[in-house]
């Protein structure tokens, strides 16, 4: 009995729906759960604009099933419960039954749909199987945004305490903790890390670096996923090197009050989304900066780009993605890249959060094609790309590692294998983590890197060592 209660993942082979495997949601009080759910739903409908959205979807959702063939999860499991439309419908059923006159009338005349603890369990399970990549939305003839519906469902659940523990612990620390960031990196550790990175860069490039912290009146205030300071030093060094080579070293700063661009609120809660954005904007105001520069991170870029204009009020600073910044430097001739350094076959993975809307699709390709000789595309790519399998915050939930590998990321792994590339570029902290795990899990013969990791290798630094010398040095070091 005990064994069956443990993580019994629905693997690709069994293709079974197991909503009792409630492993990735914080334990919650089951007492009166249905009532709580409806109260939270009612409060959300009262204070937000979701009612109009739900009304529209109730009248247009045609259940044509096109979303099923676009969904990377359904393609692997073949389980009807994984069809995006099925999940959306579950939420719409609840709305119709309890918040519309038609639903009430129907419930008087028949044993129609009723919300029970089981339905809530199922909803929670299904919503946290979705990577919110919104690939289905593009192919829905009725434009039903299943990503937004997943998010709304998770928002309602989070208001009654059903939420991914991993995500929520991070958000709690970011908003109310001492360090105010998701990875609990204290200020002293940040300063140490930056000094360490500067030393490394100095050794590598042959010029001195002093990373600006808390400088006021700068053009850019830089935010990256705080986990990059711990896990992706190469990406950060690439970012710093570009700023240095472009002559913008005195134009930017990192704020020690808030140096975390991560916003898990984007995945499950309007409440947290807004408060995290306000903290971000507050830091720029404190430093009297003029623009928000977001490092390589898909959801951080999107949440800042899309929600600073909404929640920022009068202080809605322009948001610049580091990819856009680098491309701008290249176009204006501020930085140059050596075309003879990268000889391996390189492919590019589009992070859903920046690519699906068509925002950042061509920019990284223009950069890569400028200095990579052997560039190959995944199929499909760009706006139509497949999610890495860790979207919607799933990558942070270690408990579902097997699910992410076996199901959510399987299509992506196959895509990567088909390109035959030696280097996969993914300009997103979450995608990088998931792809690295996928590469290891499926034993793919390739390396996952950030865009600026690669740029760092080929970047020509005025007055510093040439990329060729650096390449030889690192080859010797690796031997």
């Amino acid at each position: 009995m005990e064994a069956s209660k443990q993580v019994a993942l629905p693997s690709a082979e069994t293709k079974k729906f197991r909503h009792e495997d409630f492993f990735h949601v914080e334990p919650y009080e089951k007492h009166n759960i249905v009532e709580h759910f409806l109260e939270a739903f009612a409060a959300i409908l009262h204070f937000t604009d979701y009612k109009a959205l739900l009304d529209t979807y109730c009248s247009t959702n045609n259940k044509c099933n096109r979303c099923a063939v676009t969904c990377p999860v359904y393609q692997v499991t073949g389980d009807p419960h994984d069809i995006p439309c099925y999940k959306t419908n579950l939420l719409l059923e609840i709305y119709k039954r309890y918040f519309t006159i038609g639903g009430w009338v129907k419930s008087r005349f028949s044993n129609s749909f009723e919300l029970t603890e089981d339905v809530i369990d199922e909803l929670a399970e299904l919503l946290y199987r979705c990577t919110a990549c919104r690939r289905c939305t593009r192919e829905c003839p009725m434009g039903v945004d299943h990503g937004l519906m997943t998010r709304l469902g998770r928002y309602i659940l989070s208001m009654i305490g059903i939420q991914s523990k991993a995500l929520h612990v991070s958000v709690r620390e970011q908003l109310t903790g001492e360090t105010h960031n998701t990875s609990k990196v204290p200020r002293a550790a940040l300063v140490d890390t930056l000094e360490f990175l500067a030393e490394d860069l100095e050794e590598m490039l042959g010029i001195s670096f002093e990373v600006p912290i808390d400088q006021t009146d700068r053009e850019f205030v830089f935010f990256c996923a705080v986990s990059d300071y711990l896990m992706e030093p190469d990406t950060l060094m690439g970012n710093f090197a570009v700023l240095k080579a472009a002559g913008d070293w005195d134009n930017w700063t990192i704020g020690s009050g808030n140096y975390d661009g991560i916003n898990y609120g984007l995945f499950y809660s309007d409440w947290h989304l807004e408060n995290i954005i306000k903290r971000l904007v507050g830091e720029v105001t404190r430093l009297n900066g003029r623009k928000i520069l977001i490092g390589e991170c898909g959801h951080a870029s999107r949440s800042a780009h899309d929600f600073v204009p909404i929640f920022g009020g009068k202080e809605a600073y322009p948001v610049v993605s580091f990819i856009e910044y680098t491309l701008d430097c290249i176009r204006r001739g501020k930085i140059k890249l050596d075309k003879d350094i990268i000889t391996e076959k390189v492919t590019y993975h589009d992070p859903c959060n920046i690519a699906r809307s068509g925002w950042i699709v061509d920019q990284p390709r223009e950069i890569l094609k400028g200095f990579v000789r052997n560039y190959v595309e995944m199929e499909p790519h760009g706006i139509e790309n497949y999610c890495c399998g860790g979207g919607g915050g799933l990558v942070s939930i270690d408990e579902i590692h097997d699910y992410r590998m076996e199901i959510a990321g399987r299509v992506k792994a196959e895509q990567i294998r088909q390109t035959g590339a030696a280097i996969v570029i993914a300009p997103c902290a979450n995608c990088k983590k998931q792809l690295k795990e996928l590469v290891e899990y499926y034993k793919l013969p390739c390396k996952v890197m950030g865009l600026h990791d690669l740029i760092l290798k080929a970047l020509i630094i005025p007055g510093g060592k040439s990329p060729k010398v650096r390449k030889e040095e690192s080859a010797m070091f690796e031997m």
């Binding site: 109260e39 939270a40 409060a43 959300i44 009262h46 204070f47 937000t48 604009d49 979701y50 009612k51 109009a52 959205l53 009304d55 529209t56 009248s59 247009t60 959702n61 045609n62 259940k63 044509c64 099933n65 096109r66 099923a68 063939v69 676009t70 009807p80 419960h81 069809i83 439309c85 099925y86 419908n89 038609g102 939305t137 192919e139 003839p141 009725m142 434009g143 039903v144 945004d145 937004l148 208001m159 958000v171 709690r172 908003l175 109310t176 809660s269 309007d270 409440w271 947290h272 989304l273 807004e274 408060n275 899309d306 929600f307 204009p309 909404i310 929640f311 009020g313 809307s357 068509g358």
Partner: protein
Amino acid sequence: MEGWIEFAKGPLFAVSFSIMILGLARHVVIQIYSLAVRKGRRLRNVPWRKIILDTLSWAIPVKHMIPGTRLFSSVSFLSHIGIIVVPLFLADHIVLWEQFLGLDLPQIGRELADYLTLFTMAALLVLLYCRIFKRRHRAVSTTSDYILLVLVFLPFASGYLASHPSVNPLSWQAAMLIHLLSAELLFVVIPFTKLAHIVLFIFDRISEVHWQLRPGAGDKVAESLYGKEVKI
């Protein structure tokens, strides 16, 4: 029987058609209200050009043919041609439009109308087949999805029978009465079911607008549920 047909052609038609028009107008008004009034200044952040192009691309969704759903998608798109053209432009219907709305619409040939009708009926049967026999479709289909397909099928079938006595097992009057009543039933249900997409398709692709969340709402929701001292 003749009296019933006259009643169905006259007052019943006027009433059911009015219900449809008013119901659909209500949808449009609510949509515009929820956009203009509720979203207000946040509409400036929305990429309108992209949304309009996207909506237009779905009018003739050739580039949206994707593997795995070619049959269902192409059939459901093609069925729309007959569903729109025949009711509007068939010679016998034009008389109705002129009588009630004063509209002078161009008419299509009877032969073309026949082919379109037959094709539409076949298409609707294919859609019904998919819903019944394909697991993936069945999984998300509800009673109303089946009933609506039949409801759209009925006026086409009865209309075809009424105009082709050689294949009609019923009397002309019976076929015509079924034709009128089923069409009128359809008019009435349109605004209250997913068939409302005959006007709502204009607003289909505005999910970007709905991503413009309401500032301050998150705090209010939390406070209303857990009081001022709410903890994250």
